[in-house]
Amino acid sequence: MIPSFLKHTSLICQFELKRFFATRKGLLYMITFAFIWYLILFYPIRFSSDFLGQQQNTPEGNSFFQFIGFGSLLNWRIPELGVYWHFSLVIFPLLTVVTSADQTCSDRNRGTLRFVCLRVSRGSLFFGRFSGIMLTQAILILASLLSTVALIAFRDTTLLPVAFNSASAIFLSLVIALLPFTAMMAALSATVQSARQATSWAILIWTFLAWIISIFSAYLPALNSLKLLIPGYQISNLSQLAEWQTLQLAYIPLLQTIILLSIGRWIIHRQSL
């Protein structure tokens, strides 16, 4: 009996997880990831939380953070998670672009996709790989969040219930924020010949597309709304929000994801393998 679309998608997703957690290349990435987060946890997060804790209740401290653009850090009940939130909004999208750039391109060039497409629809392949990358990102976010929560518990165990609550908000918001980045890389990977090309195109889309839209919207302000289509458009506003408020802008990445996945699926269906 031929498996269903969902079964195929799930099998491909599992294989992608295996690629990440059980291959040499995946393990190398994990070690790098762990080392980066070790540095972030033990230096910026740990020390800035001490500093923020001291400044949180003083008017001078408040004005200083407002002045440097990090006033929203003071809105977090647990400073470590506020700092984590700001770091993760920059680091995770970048890591996502790097890790998800090769969803289909090198396999297509090598001919490996032909072996897969003899057995599954291109839609299953596309969504399976996308889901696999997203699940990997979710696991990494969870691991880094749990280590931050462990750091908080080491400082004060009574903060654990609040920490888990805020960490849940961060987890959900971050996963949603990363969806359009992964979807954009899925669409680019279906188009270009290599992961490097996909990454280059992603950078061009971020910089030049936003710049071009800004120029044209000076003449026709309605065009400014096109910026909504650029993944990460909401991140600067997102960094100003705290805890469950961060989900207020979730509609933007979700909308972007639907559009980008539709484009990617359209491309891969027409692409010669």
Partner: protein, 306 residues
């Protein structure tokens, strides 16, 4: 008569204005392996890619077992060895074959068993845990053939299965095809005409995007003249031609290649011409390598009537 497994009607495709396939129509029935031949750039790989669903044709209709290429219903029924396709270097051969078997709907136990079975079929059981980079070219080709055998498909399309292989591995692959052709129909694209001559009864010839078909057995028996192909040890071609031309019943002796002769004769005058030829060779103290009925496949396909 078997039902057609492939139906192509007015299939056309071009790359940047250059015609690769031009209004091709043909049907293939299940049974003996079918050869697909043609010069480089004739459109063989394009045709196989369209049949596998790897690319879309510009126009025309194609069905395999009544379904469009790439349809989910063909999963497990149609398989292929795509030209130059390589397995994923990140995973072992066993892991990948197991994954493909699972995608075809096999349970975990069945997939494990099937992985062992297909690797055994291509004499690669020892490389289950090896990565593709550890395999030689011939082994990698056989591993790719193993993936095509998963789930015992009804139709397997092989694009240049023996290209670049040594004679030992070529024979192994021919043996695999022969053994499985009782239950599986193979379509084999190859430039090795001797190999296709051994394996196939039907040949699809593709040249400049145009297809013609040939039944190897049927073509000669109905004609008023028949042919013998003789390969001699080094000899004087004019002497050989002169002697053969003097034998009653022989109408023409040609020398298309060095030490190779094609003898055209009338079977009504001399039904056992091969015996006369052998006697003539013996009388003249010549040495020969091979005497075979009919023309070689190469002659039939590319030089007949030229």
């Amino acid at each position: 008569m078997n039902a057609p497994i492939i139906k192509c009607h007015n299939l056309s495709h071009s790359y940047s204005g250059k015609t690769a396939l031009s209004n091709i129509s043909f049907t293939c029935e299940s049974g003996e392996p079918i050869g697909l031949v043609g010069p480089n750039g004739a459109g063989k790989s394009t045709l196989l890619n369209i049949l596998c669903g790897f690319m879309r044709s510009a126009s025309g209709d194609v069905t395999l077992f009544g379904h469009k290429p790439g349809a989910s219903a063909l999963s497990g029924r149609v398989s292929a060895l795509p030209q130059d396709a390589q397995l994923d270097p990140a995973f072992s051969i066993g892991e990948q074959l197991y994954f493909y078997a699972r995608l075809q709907g096999l349970s975990t136990q069945q997939a494990k068993h099937e992985t062992s079975r297909v690797l055994e079929a291509v004499a690669l059981k020892d490389v289950l845990k090896e990565k593709p980079s550890a395999l030689s070219h011939g082994m990698a080709k056989r591993a790719a053939i193993a993936q095509a055998l998963i789930g015992k498909p009804k139709l397997i399309l092989l694009d240049e299965p023996t290209a670049g292989l040594d004679p030992v591995n070529m024979r192994k692959i021919r043996t695999i095809i022969t053994e499985l052709s009782l239950v599986t129909t193979f379509i084999i694209s190859s430039h090795d005409l001797a190999e296709l001559g051994r394996l196939c009864q039907q040949i699809l010839l593709l040249d400049k995007g145009i297809m013609s078909t040939m039944q190897l057995n049927a073509s000669e028996n109905n004609k008023p003249t028949r042919f013998l192909t003789l390969q001699m040890e080094p000899c004087s071609a004019p002497d050989v031609q002169a002697k053969f031309n003097s034998i009653a019943g022989i109408s023409r002796v040609s020398n298309p290649q060095k030490n190779e002769f094609i003898i055209e004769y009338n079977p009504e005058i001399q039904p056992s011409m091969d015996l006369n030829i052998i006697t003539c060779i013996n009388d003249n103290n010549w040495q020969y390598r091979q005497l075979s009925q009919g023309k070689t496949l190469e002659e039939k396909l590319f030089f007949d009537g030229k």
